[in-house]
Amino acid sequence: MRAWWAQTRAEVRMTIRRGETVLLTLGIPVLLLVFFSLTHVSTVPTGSRVDFIAPGILALSVLSTSLVALSIATGFERSYGVLRRLHVTPLGQRRMIGAKIAGVVVTEVIQVVVLSLVALGLHWHPHGGLAGALTVALVLLLGSAGCAGIGLLLAGRLRAEVNLAASNGLYLVLLLMSGIVVPLSSLPAAVRHVALYFPPGAMADALRQVLTHAGGVSVTDWASLALWALVAPLLATRTFRFD
């Protein structure tokens, strides 16, 4: 427990100190939130632009931290031999991955607070009350686990440079096809259906159902989020290579 906690604190400290990670996890989401809320470059299905954009940006923040930032940082740690050295210490694979996921959760709490404050400043009116907040927390947690699993799956197998390109490419594709800033209704039917089977699409849809429409999360979204949250980390643990 002591090792896991110390490692988690170290992970958070390093995340906060990495400029490019701060840009990816906070800078870009804040920029997109403000830009798409204040401009009319895309059509949104709700009356208030920020009411549509804010839940999508919360999903994007999870995608940025759990998948992209985690994957790139872990990939380079592998490339620089950090993971190789950790392999010959008693920290162990489970505690190492557990610390990384805990570090991601802490970062995401900071992201959600900052993004919510910015969105509220743009006149966001979230719905759902306490039950809605709990549902949102569960959606973000499941989405985070799924995205982290995918990120570690890439980082644990690919060369750092290939992983960097793959993670950034995936970020762009998922940003555009998951209904985060572009409504799913504007996308081709095939993309629309596929999007909900990936964590960012399911998260954006579920968060919008709760926070924008004061409704419940669909069975498809829960099933998609739960399946990724279970399978991706398991696969990552099984296939992860330290060197």
């Binding site: 170290a10 390093m14 031999g81 190789r84 008693p90």
Partner: protein, 302 residues
């Protein structure tokens, strides 16, 4: 007898290539064993197999009597390792990474004490990326020592380390041996092996080509004489009462144990023939023996 490191008929194959081929090696507690060999000899593959990075293709590997893959957690809790390509997070300082790594162990050594012993006090708060190669290497060695290991596996510990740093590392190696720790050290630097090893293992093409103490490997007593100009070896051999062979244009190899009287005969003989003694060694250096063994192995394999 229970060995700290016990390797029996180990084979590690990468496809058709035999990186390690039928290696048997035993290291008792309180002994320094140095693994020598050219690049591609299989040293690092052997070390990585010992540390559980890969499973043997055939044969067995045990550390503290335990399988390093199946009981990895138990093995690494009692083993310290310095890897060739082992790194530290770039923004971290030696003090920070020492403190963090100390939390992994149940009864770690005091990180401050290790930093002091390794001469890292002055750079303890310098980020990793700004440390010199020698400072990084000493920090990695310190990390390997944190858990009070009973086995230390050090892959090229003196690489990029300055002479003062090497002396510190040598003293640490001796102290760990005195503490009863078993040490397996790989190195290209034969002089380091000569200074610290109790047992030397020479590998080439994945196989052990020689194994033994420094004295055993260096061979029979011999006096190597370097002269300012060529001289007749047969006449010198007659005067010394031993076989003298030519080992280069101005080098003679006399098959005898050195004594002041014989050195006097040699200098007098050279003086008579207008030559001077430029160097005198009392036995073949480990380097000469090593090169000969590796060359023999290459000839046999081809």
């Amino acid at each position: 007898m229970s060995f700290a490191i016990d390797v029996a008929h180990l084979q590690v194959h990468f496809g058709d290539r035999r990186a390690v081929d039928d290696v048997t090696l035993h290291v008792p507690y309180g002994q320094v064993t140095t693994l020598l060999g050219p690049n591609g000899a299989g040293k690092t593959t052997l070390v990585e197999t010992l540390l559980g990075f890969r499973s043997p293709t055939a044969g067995t590997v045990r550390l503290h009597g335990l399988d390093p893959v199946r009981t990895h957690a138990e093995v690494v809790a009692r083993t310290g390792a310095l890897l060739q390509r082992g790194g530290v997070w770039f923004p971290m300082t030696p003090a920070q990474v020492m403190d963090l790594t100390a939390t992994y162990y149940e009864q770690p050594r005091d990180p401050r004490e290790i930093l002091g012993v390794l001469g890292l006090d002055s750079c303890a708060r310098t980020p990793w990326r700004r440390l010199s190669g020698g400072e990084q290497q000493r920090t990695l060695l310190g990390l390997a020592l944190l858990g009070r290991p009973r086995v230390l596996v050090l892959d090229e510990p003196t690489t990029a380390v300055d002479p003062e740093g090497r002396q510190v590392i040598r003293e640490l190696i001796r102290a760990e041996r005195e503490r009863g720790c078993a040490l397996l050290i790989t190195t290209h630097e034969l002089t380091e092996a000569e200074r610290t090893a109790d047992e030397i293992v020479i590998m080439n093409h994945g196989r052990v080509v020689a194994q033994g103490s420094l004295d055993a490997l260096a061979g029979d007593a011999v006096v190597i004489v370097d002269t300012s100009q060529p001289v007749d070896p047969f006449e010198l051999g007659r005067r010394l009462g031993c076989v003298v062979t030519v080992d280069g244009p101005t080098r003679l190899r006399c098959a005898l144990a050195a004594s002041p009287a014989q050195v006097e005969i040699i200098t007098a003989y050279l003086s008579e023939h207008g030559a001077t003694l430029t160097n005198l060694a009392t036995r073949a250096s480990l380097e000469e023996r090593y090169l000969a063994l590796v060359a023999d192995a290459v000839r046999e394999s081809s």
